[in-house]
């Protein structure tokens, strides 16, 4: 059973702001870093799993992201921006992982490069609207999905997305518009 409750002692750090936590963590405070990990790790995991479509790789990617974050915390100028900073790190690491996977796939042509869209939890919910959205998202062209996720999950601005994906802002707008229209059009059919 997965009912192992966290032995989490309530601490004032749990309610501390991102700014305070980042300041402390950048000074080497592991406990504050742990609060950050718990606060944003689940969202980062969701993000990575949507890019990668696999749980075992997601663990690695999220862990690598946090190790990078820990090392580079002092370069983060505004601790209040830690959420989108972390999301961009995990986005980059996830994309790297997909690229690496593709390289292997080129060697072994029998390996499909696309992520597996039908993980068990999604099938369990089949029929619901969220399940439908999940499926449509997985089927979006990769560049559209990346833009959409940076916008909607990571809450990045258009400018940040453009910088992250090394694309002109106008292209990002175009990709997002297409993604949104596809989602809207598909949703029309769920009624």
């Amino acid at each position: 059973m997965s009912t192992t409750l966290r032995e989490q002692v309530p601490s004032p750090l749990d309610t501390a702001s991102d700014l305070t936590l980042v300041d402390r963590a950048a000074d080497g405070d592991v406990r504050s870093f742990e609060v950050i990990v718990r606060r944003y790790g689940p969202l980062m995991r969701v993000y990575a799993s949507r890019v990668l479509g696999s749980n075992d790789e997601m663990d690695d990617v999220v862990q690598e992201s946090f190790i990078t974050a820990w090392q580079q915390l002092s370069t983060l100028e505004d601790g209040r921006a830690v959420k989108s900073w972390l999301m961009r790190i995990v986005s980059r690491k996830s994309i790297d992982r997909v690229r690496a996977r593709r390289k292997h796939a080129n060697i072994d042509l029998s390996e499909p490069a696309a992520p597996e869209h039908q993980s068990p939890h999604r099938l369990a919910e089949a029929g619901s609207q969220t399940e439908a959205l999940s499926r449509v998202l997985a089927d979006l062209p990769e560049d559209q999905r990346r833009c959409w996720m940076l916008r909607e999950l990571a809450e990045c601005s258009y400018g940040e997305i453009a910088e992250e994906l090394d694309l002109p802002v106008s292209t990002v707008r175009g990709l997002l518009a297409r993604a949104r229209k596809t989602l809207l059009r598909e949703m029309e059919e769920w009624r």
Binding site: L19, D23, R45, V62, I67, A177, E188
Partner: protein
Amino acid sequence: MTSPDEPFVAFDLDSSDRELAHLAGHTIEELSDYLDRGRTPPDPTIDDSPECQIALRSLQRLRTVQRSLLSSDIERESERSDGWVRSVLQHINLEAHSGRDIPIEHPSPTARLVVTEGAVRGILRATGDEVSNIIIGRCRLDGDVSEPGAPITIRVHAAICQGENIPAKATELRRALYAALDDHTDLSIAAIDITIRDLYLRPATPPSESEK
């Protein structure tokens, strides 16, 4: 207006002209931004167009579904066992933030003892955490810490619990920090500057990320 059986033409992918024509000169993107802004300032060309209203309703619906997908995803991830958190913490390099070495006097001429700047910051944080309703943020040791006796100014950022008396808390914290530094280091402290930068809420109940 579209019949219920036909897809709404504005959601067509390859016809920006048709999109504009069917949304009173607007694009889905503009409508989405309008929704982001909370429909302010009100734009009558959007609010009075039935087609735009259909599109806005769809956008709103998409958002609702999107939000519930995200919150169920996050809930699932939050409920997972804690192993991954522990694994992250085990793999970070604890030396990464240790900073400069600070010499400590010792009677033996052959002994060379140092404490790291990171350890002193740890002492400052731990001391601050003992003071109720205050959380220490960033700590800086200004001055040449490698030179015994050189004057060092400690600069500390802190967050304070809402409703506390700030000057009184700062005094209490400063006193505690002086005592701790005196106990654990040979630093000669010129001043301890405390900047209250942040407020936080009293942790009455442990917060739950999934309760949104």
